[in-house]
Symmetry: C2
Subunit: 135 residues, 2 copies
DNA sequence: TTCCATGCAAACTTTTTGCATTCAT
DNA sequence: ATGAATGCAAAAAGTTTGCATGGAA
């Protein structure tokens, strides 16, 4: 969403959406939040939930958990590897380093969750965009 | 997609989709592949591309790069942390370990990409699902 | 000859947007 | 009084599916 504005007013709906997110650790979807708030705001619309989630995300009060892009992406390079995701242009490139086992070991020590594998995405600026910005 | 079948026949379209994916490192979207193949198969449909990508993914010949779910998820816990994603039920929980700096340092050494931050998702089975399966 | 794969279009899922109204400032 | 936020519904964006036809085994 393109929000050029940063002169926000208070709204009960937005306050409650943030409150709900602060008090849960399940990383909810928009509909889950919508359902939670339906009893308090019987006329609430999903659009309002999405709009407020965007605003809260823009304000840095919440995180939107997403991949680098809205499109699914596909890769025939199936052996485990990590990705470099450019925040300027959305490009995804491979990073071939092997830190796999160390990380699983560290994580396995502190959680009862059964860890089978992991994925690391590095975010930043690719060389092409870096050069463009330096011109 | 629900593909109960694993008796696949050869198809020129699927062969070429795999070929394209093997020969690029840009992690393309479905439409990008579709556009690439339009000259070779003028009647190609996007549906065919998606169907074949699902089949190739099911066969383990390619990877679909996606989050744990099709829904965006939101989090008010904005300080850096990693996620445990259950492959059985799709739940996302936090893992609070601090291996942040080590990983960035390792990666920075081997790429000119400007790394600002990273994200780690651990995949496996959560405790609830583990218990359900043991019953 | 069987039935998997295709093209086409329609349906579906998730998210965004336009518009008139309501509400915070 | 101003214009941001809302509810509602329609549209958009991305992906999947039904169906008749074509093609591999």
């Amino acid at each position: 969403m393109q929000l050029s504005n940063n002169n926000y007013r208070k709204s009960k709906q937005r306050t409650q959406i943030l409150e709900i997110l602060k008090n849960t650790n399940i990383h909810p979807t928009a509909i889950w939040i919508y359902d939670k708030l339906k009893s308090e705001f019987p006329n609430l619309s999903l659009g309002t939930v999405y709009r407020n989630l965007s605003i809260l995300n823009e304000q840095g009060l919440i995180l939107k958990i997403k991949n680098g892009s809205t499109f699914d992406r596909f890769d025939a390079h199936i052996s485990p590897h990590y990705h470099l995701i450019c925040e300027e242009c959305g490009s995804i490139t491979d990073l071939d380093i092997d830190i796999n086992d160390i990380i699983n070991e560290i994580a396995i020590k502190v959680t009862p969750f059964i860890i089978k594998h992991h994925k690391i995405d590095f975010f930043g600026t690719c060389q092409i965009c870096k050069n463009k910005k330096n011109l």
